[in-house]
């Protein structure tokens, strides 16, 4: 069997499922809004660059924005669960199948990292202290990306779950450390440091016990990647949202216990657990933290209000995916749930969670004494009005979907 051809075919099949949605993505209001926000950001950023505040921690901003981009690694292998049976005899030659996945994983994510660098570059040029030339930045980011991708790939092969988690943490620490060293140290010192650390990191990766081909990990990773793609598409168009990654999050087990014990509350219970253990919570929490940091940083300004509302909207767009949870699950058909419960509970849970996020992102404005007090109350009211408007929009949209 030609394994390279097989992967190509699978990739084409995958994109043939995604591409039909793209026209809807462009037509959707979310896409237009994102475009408007991009234009607004560009205008603001240009003005900001002309009046950079004194003592702005540009080094930290570089690390904060480039760090996640350098760390993020993922590979689309298009591996199917049945492959662990049917491709097992070809295990010895599977590297030919995985090689394109590894390199294209690096290529796409590297272009994203370079795009962030390009946006940050004018800001970096205005920073004090050590400033490295652009072309060396490109090389260093490439090296970091290669080291990170190699580490992420080796992690997939590690047999023990705990060792895998440990090496993931090690990778994050190593990459952030190297990036920080590059930002703040002279080029020769940090490059020497980079080489030493990377060599040691690669050597350390040889120690844990590994699978030759980590079938189960690859299948799980592929499932999660495919589900993430659908999750992103779900912001714009109506797509199934099954197959999202699940984390136990034991410390959140208490959530859902107090939901009323009734047939009406049954679906709310299921949906709450789905939110608590699914990727949506992680995405929402990250956006809320980022939103809170940015809102706090901007203080009681119009920009702060704009960012605050933008993040409320962005988190709301993510939470709207709750509508699709378990929609295609036949298991729910077997339980006597009240009709209309799914739509109602998705809107209820989505808007309550969004209101919670809106309040959390508003909190950093409290300790800031400067700026009018009416701004403080007004911004919270504006955020909650947006939550209410999004909920009304969901109700209307989902009702129309049902009527169709």
């Amino acid at each position: 069997m030609d394994l390279v051809e097989l992967r190509k075919r699978r990739k084409a099949l995958h994109w043939s499922k995604i591409l039909p949605y793209l026209p809807y993505v462009f037509q959707s209001g979310v896409a237009v809004l994102l475009l408007i926000l991009m234009i607004a950001f560009s205008a603001w950023y240009t003005r900001f660059l002309q009046h950079i505040p004194e003592g702005l921690p540009i080094g930290w901003i570089m690390i904060l924005l480039l760090g996640p981009a350098v760390i993020y690694s993922g590979f689309r292998t298009y591996i199917h669960p049945a492959d662990s049976v049917f491709l097992l005899p070809q295990e010895a030659s599977m590297s030919t199948y995985f090689k394109p996945a590894f390199w294209s994983g690096i290529l796409y994510k590297l272009s994203g990292t370079y795009a962030i660098l390009l946006v940050l570059w004018p800001l970096y040029q205005r920073s004090d202290g050590i400033r490295h030339p652009f072309w060396i930045w490109l090389i260093v980011l490439l090296l970091l990306k290669l080291a990170g991708a190699y580490g992420a790939w080796q992690e997939l092969k590690i047999a023990s779950h705990r060792a895998r988690a440990g090496f993931r943490l090690l990778r994050w620490c190593v990459l952030l450390l190297l990036l920080a060293a590059w930002v703040w140290q002279p080029a020769w010192k940090s490059l020497l440091f980079l080489i030493l650390v990377v060599v040691n990191y690669v050597l350390a990766l040889r120690f844990p016990m590994k699978h030759r081909v980590p079938w189960e990990n690859l299948i799980a990773a592929e499932k999660a990647s495919a589900a993430n793609n659908m999750l992103v598409l779900g912001w714009f168009v109506d797509v199934p949202a099954e197959g999202q990654g699940v984390s136990p999050r034991r410390w959140l087990d208490w959530i859902g216990k107090r939901i009323s014990w009734s047939r009406e509350g049954a679906y709310r219970y299921l949906l709450t657990k789905t939110l608590v253990r699914g990727e949506l919570l992680g995405i929402g929490a990250r956006l809320t933290i980022l939103g809170a940091i940015l809102v706090g940083w901007c203080g009681r300004t119009w920009l702060g209000l704009g960012l605050y509302l933008f993040f409320v909207f962005l988190i709301g767009a993510q939470l709207s995916v709750l509508r699709h949870a378990h929609r295609d699950s036949s298991a729910a058909l077997y339980y006597p749930l009240p009709s209309g419960a799914r739509k109602k509970e998705a809107a209820d849970l989505g808007s309550r969670t969004l209101a919670g996020a809106a309040v959390i992102m508003w909190l950093p404005l409290l300790p800031q004494g400067d700026g009018p007090l009416t701004y403080l109350g007004g911004s919270l009211v504006a955020g909650l009005i947006l939550v209410y408007a999004m909920r009304s929009n969901w109700n209307r949209k989902w009702r129309e979907e049902e009527e169709d």
Binding site: G265, A266, G278, H326, Y334, Y335, P336, L337
Partner: protein, 248 residues
């Protein structure tokens, strides 16, 4: 075991496309406190019959009624009167074993204290106490099947529809399940059970419905279907083999 049937299937013709029905004029009933074995070869129409009972498919002709009412009359009451255990476990990855049972208890309006009592007993019976707080995606296939069974048994509906319950279960699990079903039956619950393990269900089911190529070719007690097959005193397996061989 007499009285108004819990499940009544009358002249049921149905399938996935109108022109090519899978089921042809199916007729049988399940009475209160009765365990009925639905048996047939692969593709005989057992799962399609169950899908019609569950309301997942709409009959082309005829109908299904539960406690005298059809699904169209009151879908929620109809659904609440039955519990289903599918052939392949269908669980929510996000829920633990205990949470699955809690979800089922909530959906079937089982009181919290009754749920606690039943959940503890079922976890013990199926030896799942240690896995109670594990996410379902970390369970083996047999354990997943046990969770499906426990979820169905946490409620006490009038009818249990159980499709191939023994698949993936260990011998102790099979014994626990059969004993529990007998207890349920004695308490008045009705069970429609589909299985290929004929030697196992032979001693537990009160009656059998033999489906072949979408039609009922025999139904009744073991003795009655033995008469149809002209094999008095034969085992269910031999009777079944004779019936389907004759039907080809």
């Amino acid at each position: 075991m007499n009285g108004t049937p819990v499940l009544q299937i009358e002249h049921l013709t149905g399938g996935y496309s109108l022109g090519r029905p899978v089921l042809h004029n199916i007729e049988f009933q399940v009475s209160p406190g009765e365990m009925v074995g639905l048996i047939g070869l692969n593709g005989a129409g057992k799962s399609t019959t169950m899908k019609h009972i569950l309301g997942l498919m709409t009959p082309h002709q005829g109908g299904v009624s539960l406690l005298g009412h059809t699904r169209e009359e009151d879908p929620e009451a109809y659904q609440a009167a039955l519990a289903f255990v599918p052939e392949s476990p269908l669980l929510y990855d996000e829920l633990t074993v205990r949470e699955h049972m809690e979800f089922a208890a909530r959906a079937y309006s089982v009181a919290p204290e009754v749920y606690e009592e039943r959940a503890a007993a079922l976890l013990k019976l199926f030896r799942m106490e240690e896995k109670a707080d594990s996410l379902s995606l970390h369970l083996s296939k047999g354990m997943k099947q046990k969770v499906m069974i426990m979820c169905a048994f946490i409620a006490r509906p009038s009818l249990y529809v159980i499709d191939e319950p023994f698949l993936g279960l260990d011998p102790l699990g099979i014994r626990s399940l059969l004993d529990f079903m007998m207890d349920l039956k004695r308490s008045g619950a009705s069970i429609l059970l589909s299985s290929h393990i004929l030697s196992t269900i032979e001693n537990y089911c009160d009656r059998f419905v033999v489906l072949h190529q979408g039609s009922v070719i025999a139904q009744g007690t073991l003795k009655e279907i033995a008469q149809v097959a002209r094999m008095p005193g034969a085992t269910l397996e031999d009777i079944f083999y004779n019936l389907v061989k004759g039907g080809d």
